[in-house]
Amino acid sequence: MAENQEIRSKIHVENMNFFYGSVQALFDINIELPEKKVTAFIGPSGCGKSTFLRTLNRMNDIIDGTRLEGKVLIDGGDIYGPITDVVELRRKVGMIFQKSNPFPKSIFDNIAYGPRLHGVKDKGKLMEIVESCLVKSALWDEVKDRLDKSAMSLSGGQQQRLCIARALAINPDIVLMDEPASALDPKSTLKIEDLIGELRKDYTIIIVTHNMQQAGRVSDNTAFFYEGRLIEYGATEQIFTKPNEKQTEDYITGRFG
């Protein structure tokens, strides 16, 4: 019984501050994110939730002049330590972006991109990975007859599920999702949410969302950010029904944000 198992902490963040140049974006973040659960980050625009998400696979590294203080541990290892291999880290921590961003290549090549990078050359093995990832992302039935067609020919919702399949293809432990459904219509959004429900069995999922109903539907835990600070963190049900902090309550009831 999964429910009775002890919940293991996957990500541990301690006294973390983050800066864009001289502007501080995150202030003294302390949080424990559990393994194989869905954690939602909510908060108004510019509150730092996406920035925080991007510190977890060091995507902020590609922006010049960013700096991080404090500790971010994944499975006990400091990902900002001097011996950390960023390529290894990003293999373990997949990411889905706000706007679907398939490469202008075929559907097959999109998903095979990651495995090929990491040394899988055998055509049969690649096909196996592509199929299993497309099945996991609930796209297989829609595209199985046109794997060699350009990914650009897919609809927006299909493209986003393709990106999820592509992220799964490198077999990560953690999947970061940065507002994955914000550019999609309600029907596609629902499909993505169903998908998250399926993926939670095998992956630790962290999702940034603007949509509070979505956070309520898909997540186990919710963290509320405001002006670069983590205001409140707890079980989703508790956050949405009886938040401890006034700011959280105001945001959730729609008084600001």
Partner: protein, 293 residues
């Protein structure tokens, strides 16, 4: 009709005529080239042009075979392209993806300066520096070879290839790069496997435009390729290009003579070649350009 509408119409016609001016000019050029070259078809006949000897001034037998001139141009152009492509594309990748903002500020003006050097000046540089170098390195009798011309032409094509490729690479959406990096690709892998393929249409177009510039270039090749009209695909021989032939001989030819008309045929062939090159690059752009939604 009131005054306002009449004015609007006039302005429209004026703009329309400005817009179509280039078409008219191209057609006129073709027309006059053909007009001057036409009598050649009757006497000495078009088949003359397919011979392999170009010897237009002779007391025994004048020969107007374009073959050596065409192969000369093709050889020099292909060599120059082969030399220019790696430098142009790698340079573009470096400037747009790797270089810091400061380096970019420093490098870009130099590329523009290179593009702006008059071809005669490049020719001097070729005569004084490149030709002796080619002669010594390869142990030849003369440094005035197809290779020497190709090196100089490559210098002229590189700025074209670099700046247009750079634009193409810069316009690749950052989202592709992020996606690749997030999948655990290194920066280099991202550049070669995602960024360059996504910019490929622009890169190919830049190469085509660079080739167009090289085919039409006259002064430099006249100065350094040795001007020997022989059919050869050996880069270490002297060759003569179509452009150099026209430039060198046009001034001394009797107007209306067979030689005069043959030179016009050289011009027509040259124009067709650049026309085809442009057409191909246009097609390439259309075919691969639509890939990116």
């Amino acid at each position: 009709m009131n005054k306002q509408r009449l004015k609007a119409k006039l302005i429209k016609y004026f703009l329309q005529s400005c817009g179509s001016l280039s078409i008219v000019i191209v057609l006129l050029i073709f027309l006059f080239l053909f007009k001057e070259a036409l009598p050649f078809i009757g006497q000495p006949g078009l088949t003359e042009l397919f011979h392999s000897v170009w010897n237009p001034v002779s007391f025994q037998k004048e020969e107007f075979g374009l073959l050596p001139l065409v192969t000369g141009s093709v050889l020099v152009t292909l060599l120059a392209t082969v030399i220019a492509i790696p430098f142009g594309i790698i340079g573009a990748v470096y400037i747009s993806e790797v270089a810091s903002a400061k380096e970019r500020e420093f490098l870009k003006p130099f590329i523009e300066i290179l593009a702006g050097i008059p071809s005669v000046v490049l020719g001097f540089f070729g005569l004084v520096v490149i030709a002796p170098l080619v002669k010594d390195v390869f142990g030849l009798n003369t440094g005035l070879t197809a290779l020497t011309g190709a090196v100089l032409l490559a210098l002229m094509a590189i700025p074209t290839i670099m700046s247009i490729s750079e634009d193409a690479i810069k316009s690749v959406p950052a989202a592709y790069k992020e996606a690749s990096l997030a999948l655990g690709a290194s920066r280099l892998e991202t550049i070669w496997k995602v960024v360059v393929p996504a910019a490929l249409s622009g890169i190919i177009a830049s190469v085509m435009l660079g080739m167009g510039r090289v085919v039409g270039e006259t002064m430099t090749v006249m100065m350094v390729t040795g001007n020997a009209p022989v059919v050869s695909f050996n880069p270490f021989t002297s060759v003569r290009t179509m452009t150099a032939t026209v430039a060198a001989e046009m001034g001394e030819v009797t107007i209306g003579s067979d030689h005069y008309m043959a030179l016009f045929w050289v011009g027509i062939v040259l124009m067709l070649m650049t026309f085809i090159l442009n057409l191909v690059s246009y097609r390439v752009l259309k075919k691969y350009g639509s890939e990116r939604a």
